[in-house]
C-alpha cells in the first residue's frame, strides 16, 4: 500500500499560483477532477484546477452518488449506460476502491397512470438492452420490506443500478492526479475575472494572482453562471437547493435505492455502512444559492417517509445538509466548447446528474479538447443550445416534475 505522499502534497500545494497554465479548470469537483484525469492520460501537462474551497466541496461532496442507468428517455439511457460502465471500471483503472456496488434501484409507483407510463419505459429499456423489470406491489414489499404497512403501492420498476462512495471517488482522483504530476489544485482560490483578447481567453484572474491561459473549463456547476458572467458567456443555468438527511447506521435492511414521485419526489437508500440517506423534494424550492439546512425539509421528509415506509420511523436522524443543483431548462448539462468565446469550455448545468454523467462525458470532452471528432453522445449536451431562446428556465421545467405532474406532462 505505497502511496506517493509527496505527490499529494505537490498536487494540493498552497504556494503561489503558476504564471501560466495549458488549461485552467475552475472547480475541483467530480467534473474538474475527471476532466484533468482524462487529459493527463492524453498527454496534456501543466494544468491548473482553481477551487474556491477544497476538492469535493460542492455538489460532489454533498450528493448520495446513485448511478442509475435506467432513465426515462432513450437518448439519456444510452449515455447513462456508458456512464455507469465508466464507474464500473474506475476502481481498477485508478487502483482505488470507490465502493461501486450494484445495490439495485427501485421506482415505487402509487398510481395506475404511473404504472402505464412506466410499462412503456420498461419496453423502451428492453429495446436498449437495459434489463429493468415491472413489479407487482407484493414484489415491491418483498424487495423492500420497510414499505409494509405504508401507503398502498401500485407497483414498481427495478433495475440492477449502482451506488458509489462519492468521497472515495474524489480521493481516487486526487491520488491518481498526484501520481501523474501534470496538474495542480489551488484550493481556497476564487476567480475574480477573465481576461479576453482577440475573441479568445487570455488569462484567468484570481484573488491569488493572474494565470495566463488560452483554455478554461467551467466546471463550477452551481457557481458556473457567475463564472460565465465574468467571461461574458451566456448560459441559462440556475442554482437550486436540494436537501438530504442521514441516519445512524442500522444493519442491512433496505436492499434497493428507492425513488417515488407521488405526491412529490422523494427517495431513500442505505449506504454500505448502514446509514440511511433520504430526502423529499420541495417542488416549490426557490431558485438561488442556499446551502443551509431547513427544518421544513426535516419535517417534510419525516412525514412522507413514515407514511410510505413506516419501518423507517425507528431510524435516528443524525445530520442534515444541503447541496446545489445547477439546473438547465431541459435538465441536461452543457458539455462542450462554446461558440461565444474561443477557448471557453463548458461542463456544468448537471441538473443533479453530475455524479453519474461527469466521469464519462468529460472523457468524451477531453478527446474533443485534444482534437478528436465530437462523439455522438455529446450532441445532446451542446452548450449553446439555449442561446437566443430567452432561457425561460427557472426550474419549473423539471424533467422529474414533468413526470410527476401528468396534467401538464410534455415528454418528448
Amino acid at each position: 500500500m505505497s502511496r506517493d505522499v509527496a505527490g499529494l502534497a505537490r498536487l494540493l500545494d498552497a504556494g503561489p499560483l503558476p504564471a501560466r497554465a495549458s488549461l485552467v479548470i475552475v472547480g475541483a469537483g467530480i467534473t474538474g477532477l475527471s476532466f484533468a484525469r482524462w487529459l493527463s492520460a492524453l498527454g496534456l501537462r501543466d494544468m491548473l484546477i482553481v477551487e474556491r474551497a477544497y476538492p469535493g466541496a460542492g455538489a460532489t461532496g454533498r450528493n448520495v452518488a446513485r448511478l442509475r442507468a435506467m432513465q426515462l428517455t432513450e437518448e439519456l439511457c444510452h449515455v447513462a449506460v456508458a456512464a455507469q460502465a465508466t464507474y464500473d471500471r474506475m476502481g481498477e483503472e485508478l487502483g482505488f476502491n470507490v465502493l461501486f456496488y450494484r445495490l439495485g434501484y427501485l421506482w415505487a409507483l402509487y398510481e395506475a397512470e404511473e404504472m402505464e407510463r412506466m410499462a412503456r419505459a420498461v419496453e423502451m429499456h428492453h429495446r436498449l438492452g437495459i434489463d429493468s423489470r415491472l413489479l407487482a406491489p407484493d414484489d415491491v414489499l418483498r424487495l423492500v420490506p420497510v414499505f409494509r404497512g405504508g401507503d398502498p403501492l401500485a407497483g414498481g420498476v427495478v433495475h440492477d443500478d449502482a451506488i458509489v462512495h462519492h468521497d472515495a471517488v474524489v480521493w481516487a482522483h486526487l491520488e491518481h492526479l498526484a501520481a501523474t504530476g501534470r496538474v495542480r489544485i489551488a484550493s481556497g482560490t476564487n476567480v475574480v475575472g477573465v481576461a479576453r483578447g482577440d475573441g479568445g481567453v487570455r488569462a484567468v484572474l484570481t484573488d491569488r494572482g493572474r494565470v495566463e491561459t488560452r483554455h478554461v473549463l467551467n466546471a463550477a456547476d452551481a457557481w458556473s453562471n457567475a463564472l460565465n458572467g465574468l467571461a461574458a458567456v451566456h448560459a441559462p443555468n440556475r442554482p437550486l437547493r436540494r436537501e438530504v438527511l442521514v441516519t445512524a447506521p442500522v444493519h442491512r435492511a433496505i436492499d434497493k435505492a428507492v425513488t417515488f414521485y407521488r405526491p412529490t419526489e422523494g427517495w431513500f437508500n442505505q449506504t454500505l455502512r448502514g446509514e440511511v440517506v433520504m430526502g423529499v423534494v420541495d417542488p416549490d424550492e426557490p431558485v438561488g444559492h442556499d446551502q443551509r439546512s431547513s427544518s421544513d425539509f426535516l419535517r417534510r421528509t419525516a412525514r412522507l417517509m413514515v407514511r410510505k415506509a413506516p419501518g423507517l420511523a425507528d431510524l435516528t436522524v443524525i445530520r442534515q445538509w444541503a447541496g446545489m443543483y445547477d439546473v438547465t431548462p431541459d435538465h441536461l448539462p452543457l458539455v462542450g466548447q462554446t461558440g461565444q468565446l474561443e477557448g471557453w469550455w463548458q461542463a456544468n448545468g448537471w441538473s443533479g446528474r453530475g455524479m453519474l454523467l461527469a466521469p464519462y462525458l468529460t472523457r468524451l470532452l477531453a478527446e474533443r479538447f485534444m482534437g478528436a471528432e465530437p462523439h455522438p453522445h455529446l450532441a445532446l449536451f451542446e452548450p449553446d443550445r439555449f442561446v437566443g431562446t430567452g432561457d425561460a428556465g427557472n426550474g419549473d421545467e423539471d424533467y422529474y416534475a414533468r413526470y410527476a405532474r401528468p396534467r401538464d406532462a410534455t415528454r418528448r
Binding site: G149, H251, Q320
Partner: protein, 580 residues
C-alpha cells in the same frame, strides 16, 4: 468488583419506584419502575451495554444525559435507544446490538486488537480483484456494518401537534444558567419560553442540593419563575433554523419565533485523550453523583477521580458516603491510560515525576467542556480555553457576533460557580430582553423566502457560516488513544492520513470519519482539533471562506450540520399546520 445497590438513595428526597422485573438478553433483572434502563443494567452488574461501531470496543453508561451514546441498546424491538433515557417498566425486554453472537460476548472485539491493520480507509486499495468477487467483498463489509436492527411493518407513532409560538426571549437549557437568564429576562418584562431536555426543570435538584453561589436554592428558583416563564420540559432543540427554533417537546412539535435567544446548554464531560478512556467503568462525575443520589447505585468500590472541577468534590463526597474508597485524584494531564479488558480495572498515572499504577474499578471524570454545537451551527468564532476545551466568543453581556443570539453559563465558558457568574447569566437574560424590546420576531424580520429567481439575481449566497478556533495548541495524543469515539478514530489514524497529504480538515474528516458520528462531535471535537491544529498546510472551509497557508493560531471548523441532537424520524412525523 461490580456495582451494587445501597439500601437507599443518598438524596433524602429520592423515592425509588416499585420493584419491577425486566429482561436483558432474556435474563431476568430487577429494577425500579421509572429508573433509567442503563441504571438498572449497571446495578445488575452489566457494565458493558453497547459495542463501538468500527472496532467493537465495549462501552457502558458514561454521560447519563443521552449525549455520548455509549449506552445504546435495543429496547422492545426498537433499535439503538440510549438506555439512560429509557425508563424501566415491568416486562421490558432489552438486548445489546452489533456483536457476534451478541454485544456482551462479541468475538468481533478481536478487531480492536489488530486495529493497526484496519485503518478507517483500509478498503481503499483492496477488494478490487478478482472482478467477479468485488460485490461479494462489499457484501461481507456490509454484513459487518450497521448497528441495530430495523423492523418492517406498521407501528403506532406518537401523535404530535404542531405548535408555533412567538416570544420575546427563547432560553435553551433549564440548568442554573438558563433559569437565571430566564428569570432576569422575565423581570425585564419580556415574554420568555424555556426549553429543557430533562423532564423537569432544574433536574439537577433531584440528586444534588448545593445552593447557587448567590445563596438561593435552585428548586426555589425553578419554582419562582414557573409563573412568569413558559416552561417546556422533555424538549429537544433540533436547531435554530431560519424558520425559528425547532424542538420536539413531549407531544408537541414546537417552532419558536423569538426576538432573542439565550443558549444555556451547559457542558459535557471532557474525556482526557488517553488509551482506554472509553472503557465501561469510566463515568462522568455528575453521573456518579446522580447514580448514588437518585438511585442508590454504587458503580464501583475503588475510584480514581480525574479533573479539577467542583464536580469531582461532589462525586467524592457521595462515594465516601456510600462506603467506596477514593484511591487518588489526578488531573486529566496526569492520567496516562485506563487499563482493563471489558471494563476499567486499573489506571496508569503520572504522579510526582513517576508513572504509577493503581487498581481501580471506577474512573470518575470531573472535567467539563462547553457545549458548543449551537455556537458552531451559528458560525461563531471560538477560542481554546487552555485546558483542552474550546469556548465560543461572547461579550460580557453574553452577546455574540450573531444579532439576537446570547450565551450564558457553561456554554459561554462561565459555569455558575461564583456570584459573578450568577450575575453574568442574569445579564445575558436582561440583554436578550432589552434587544427583544427593539426587534421584531425572526419570522416578521425575515419575511417569507422569495419564491422566484430574485435570490439568484444579486442576492447574497446563503451558505452555512464556518467557525474558526483561535489559539489551539497542537497536541500529540498516544497512537492508540481513541479521539473520536463514534467512529473509533485513533491518534495514529489521524496522523497517518495527515501524513499521506489529507491535511485539510474537511478532507481528514471525511477520510477518517472523525466528527461525523452520532454524537456529532460533542465528545471528540476539541481533541480532534488539537491533534490537527497547525498540522495542515492548508485549512479549507466548507463554504468558500477558506483560509490558506500554514497557521498555528487559527483552525477553520467544518460547518455545523443540524440537528443539534439526534432525533427519531418517527418523532418528527407528526402533523403540521401548512405554513406556506
Amino acid at each position: 468488583m461490580t456495582a451494587r445497590r445501597l439500601p437507599a438513595p443518598l438524596h433524602p428526597a429520592a423515592r425509588p419506584g416499585e420493584p419491577v422485573s425486566l429482561r436483558w438478553h432474556g435474563r431476568r433483572i430487577a429494577g425500579h419502575a421509572g429508573e433509567p434502563l442503563a441504571v438498572a443494567l449497571l446495578a445488575a452488574g452489566e457494565a458493558g451495554i453497547s459495542r463501538s461501531f468500527r472496532v467493537h470496543r465495549p462501552r457502558g453508561l458514561m454521560c447519563s444525559t443521552g449525549q455520548c451514546g455509549w449506552c445504546e441498546c435495543e429496547v422492545d424491538g426498537r433499535p439503538s435507544l440510549r438506555s439512560c433515557r429509557v425508563p424501566v417498566r415491568d416486562g421490558l425486554r432489552a438486548r445489546s446490538e452489533h456483536g457476534v453472537p451478541d454485544g456482551r460476548r462479541d468475538v468481533l472485539g478481536l478487531v480492536d486488537h489488530v486495529w493497526r491493520l484496519l485503518p478507517p480507509s483500509f478498503y481503499h486499495h483492496r477488494f478490487l480483484r478478482p472482478r467477479q468477487l468485488r460485490k461479494r467483498y462489499l457484501d461481507v463489509l456490509r454484513f459487518f456494518a450497521g448497528r441495530g436492527r430495523l423492523r418492517a411493518g406498521p407501528r403506532s407513532l406518537p401523535w404530535r401537534d404542531a405548535l408555533e409560538r412567538e416570544v420575546d426571549v427563547l432560553v435553551v437549557g433549564g440548568g442554573c444558567a438558563g433559569l437565571l437568564a430566564a428569570e432576569a429576562a422575565a423581570e425585564s418584562g419580556a415574554s420568555v419560553l424555556l426549553l429543557e431536555a430533562e423532564f423537569e426543570p432544574a433536574a439537577i435538584c433531584r440528586w444534588r442540593t448545593p445552593p447557587l453561589p448567590d445563596g438561593r436554592r435552585l428548586e426555589a428558583l425553578a419554582a419562582s419563575i414557573a409563573a412568569r416563564v413558559e416552561l417546556r420540559t422533555g424538549a429537544t432543540l433540533l436547531g435554530l433554523y431560519d424558520e425559528g427554533g425547532v424542538a420536539v417537546a413531549g407531544d408537541v412539535l414546537l417552532t419558536v419565533h423569538a426576538r432573542a435567544t439565550v443558549v444555556a446548554t451547559g457542558s459535557y464531560e471532557r474525556l482526557p485523550p488517553v488509551p482506554g478512556i472509553d472503557r465501561p467503568g469510566v463515568i462522568g462525575a455528575r453521573t456518579v453523583e446522580w447514580l448514588l443520589g437518585a438511585f442508590g447505585v454504587l458503580p464501583g468500590e475503588e475510584a480514581l477521580l480525574v479533573g479539577e472541577a467542583d464536580d469531582c468534590a461532589g462525586a467524592e463526597a457521595a462515594l465516601i458516603a456510600a462506603g467506596a474508597r477514593v484511591v487518588a485524584r489526578v488531573t486529566g494531564e496526569q492520567l496516562l491510560a485506563v487499563e482493563g479488558g471489558d471494563r476499567a480495572r486499573a489506571v496508569r498515572c503520572f504522579v510526582e515525576g513517576n508513572e504509577r499504577w493503581a487498581d481501580v474499578d471506577l474512573v470518575v471524570v470531573g472535567d467539563r467542556a462547553a457545549s458548543v454545537e449551537a455556537a458552531i451551527a451559528a458560525g461563531l468564532d471560538l477560542e481554546a480555553d487552555g485546558r483542552g476545551g474550546i469556548v465560543p466568543h461572547s461579550g460580557r453581556d453574553g452577546s455574540t457576533a450573531v444579532p439576537g443570539l446570547f450565551l450564558a453559563g457553561a456554554a459561554a465558558g462561565r459555569p455558575i460557580d461564583s456570584p459573578a457568574a450568577v450575575e453574568a447569566a442574569r445579564t445575558a437574560g436582561r440583554a436578550a430582553a432589552a434587544l427583544a424590546g427593539t426587534t421584531s420576531a425572526t419570522r416578521a424580520a425575515r419575511g417569507p423566502a422569495p419564491r422566484d429567481g430574485s435570490r439568484a439575481a444579486g442576492a447574497a449566497e446563503r451558505l452555512t457560516p464556518a467557525s474558526v478556533v483561535h489559539g489551539l495548541q497542537r497536541t500529540s495524543p498516544a497512537d492508540e488513544a481513541i479521539l473520536c469515539f463514534c467512529e473509533d478514530v485513533r491518534g495514529a489514524e489521524l496522523r497517518a492520513d495527515q501524513a499521506v497529504g489529507y491535511g485539510l480538515l474537511e478532507l481528514l474528516k471525511r477520510r477518517t470519519g472523525a466528527l461525523t458520528g452520532p454524537c456529532q462531535g460533542k465528545y471528540c471535537l476539541p481533541a480532534v482539533l488539537a491533534a490537527c491544529a497547525g498540522a495542515a498546510a492548508t485549512v479549507g472551509a466548507e463554504d468558500g471562506a477558506a483560509t490558506v497557508g500554514t497557521d498555528d493560531e487559527v483552525t477553520t471548523l467544518p460547518t455545523g450540520r443540524p440537528p443539534l441532537r439526534p432525533v427519531r424520524l418517527g418523532d418528527l412525523a407528526g402533523p403540521r399546520s401548512r405554513a406556506r
